[in-house]
Symmetry: C2
DNA sequence: CGATGTATTGACCAGCTTCAAGTAACGTGG
DNA sequence: CCACGTTACTTGAAGCTGGTCAATACATCG
């Protein structure tokens, strides 16, 4: 299947023509650094389209060697790899502001797929955007490196969880981390929890557990009163610090402002 | 413990003054791209010292927020994270040419430690080298991003192993991957195997297994004739393609030329 | 109102961990 | 040169964490 087919938006959901990056609603969040006007201009020139995709849609196919490059503007997605017999490992969950397709472009090591968890909006860039960013404005090149290194740090944490933590600790760590990452985007500051679109199968695949055991682990966390499900599949953590202790996770999670490309 | 203490070389092993990068023996290997003279000059200006360290020495302490930046010139090392109760996850094995300390510099997510596996020689850079590389020469900035993305791809593979593969598959995948990565540095082209400095404990910590089970798994691989130990703890793989099939690993492993900074 | 995907639960069992000991290899100091 | 400490490797037995199999409930949706 060609990438172009994958990227063509479903008819009713085609986005309006690319709006100026300076009006991107994401940039208003304190989570992101504020770029200079020059930086904004360079980024804007590389922007090719804003596209909408449905939940469960494939954004990048495993093995694609000419995958596109985009930034997630709204919604959740996940990166994954599968073995020949179908076993799937979710590598990382991607939230708004995450830069997608970098690994694919740079290295030809066995690649990964990307699939949406919710309806998403993405900002698609020119294929050679990574190089152009570096060439045009070193500060933006530095930002790309930052983003890449930052995702590496998330991978480190996931690997630590999957390799060393027990099932209970793993799920606790995952929920806590995702909750913290999603909080800056929650409408009401997260008082009623944050929308949490992962199924138990996703949790299982992310943490290297079976579906059944992921379910039992979630029940156990619920039984201890550490997680509560609100309406609209919202995740509420009544006592994050207790969860963090259970998971042996550093708390609170500090998130310094990050670049948005 | 301060980083300066960690970095001061043991008296007898102090390296000679930094030699010009253009004579770096690593660069002669076809594994690495050949830089322009301008690139070499910029890199050379950022070079601060060449240092030797013994096997088992700590290069970067977990939690250090001002960790140094270097390139591994010779020898093996590994990145790791530990939980409060001592469980250790080895994140990645580092071989000559690998750039160390990038994650640490960019993000303040919980950090990792780096420890040598063999005696090593490293090329230490100025603290702000990452930014300088981007500013002085975009092509070098791009190389840094490439290296970061490439390490991300290795992490992806490790996460897939630890999350989805059985113990036998995991160990097979690890040995095969390391063998392939070490091959370009083997003196005789690897005909007598490659030096393999990991202990069973390292293998266990890298793959999320207990020491005992790592040992049993190695025995099983040996019993099937898939791995052989030569003199000087050299690893010989009589039938790499059979190992790859067992591990569900893409084979052969392609390694395109990579930048060396 | 079936069809499909997700959640739920019990029974069984196996892969892996833990515990416990013992062996081998190597460097150090007496 | 040997005793000894240290580190890595080895092996068996027992048990637990988490996987597999199977079936049911529940929801949403065309």
């Amino acid at each position: 299947m060609s990438i172009d087919v994958l990227l063509s938006p479903t008819p009713p959901s085609r986005a309006a023509a690319a709006a100026g990056c300076e009006h991107c609603p994401l940039r208003r969040l304190p989570l992101f650094t504020t770029p200079s006007s020059t930086e904004l201009e360079v980024i804007g020139n590389l922007k090719r389209a804003e596209l909408d995709h449905e939940a469960g849609e494939l954004l990048i196919a495993e093995g694609a060697d000419d995958s596109p490059l985009f930034t997630l503007l709204a919604g959740w997605a996940f990166r994954y790899k599968t073995l020949a017999d179908g076993r799937r490992q979710i590598l990382n969950i991607m939230l708004p502001g995450d830069f997608i397709g970098l690994q694919q472009k740079m290295s030809d090591a066995a690649s990964h797929g990307v699939r949406t968890l919710t309806p998403v909006r993405v900002c698609r860039f020119a294929r050679d955007a990574v190089w152009t960013l570096h060439r045009e404005l070193p500060s933006l090149g530095y930002d790309v490196t930052w983003l890449s290194a930052n995702e590496g740090a998330l991978l480190d944490d996931n690997l630590l969880s999957v390799g060393q933590r027990s099932a209970l600790e793993r799920v606790a760590a995952l929920l806590l981390t995702l909750h913290a990452r999603a909080l800056p985007f929650a409408a009401d500051g997260g008082r009623d929890g944050v929308v949490f679109p992962l199924t138990q199968q996703h949790i299982a695949d992310a943490m290297g557990l079976s579906l059944v055991h992921a379910h039992r682990t979630l029940r156990q966390l619920g039984g201890r009163g550490l997680i509560v499900w609100g309406p609209g599949s919202r995740l509420i953590l009544p006592d994050p610090s207790a969860l963090a202790r259970l998971a042996h996770l550093r708390w609170p999670l500090v998130q310094s402002p990050r670049p948005l490309i």
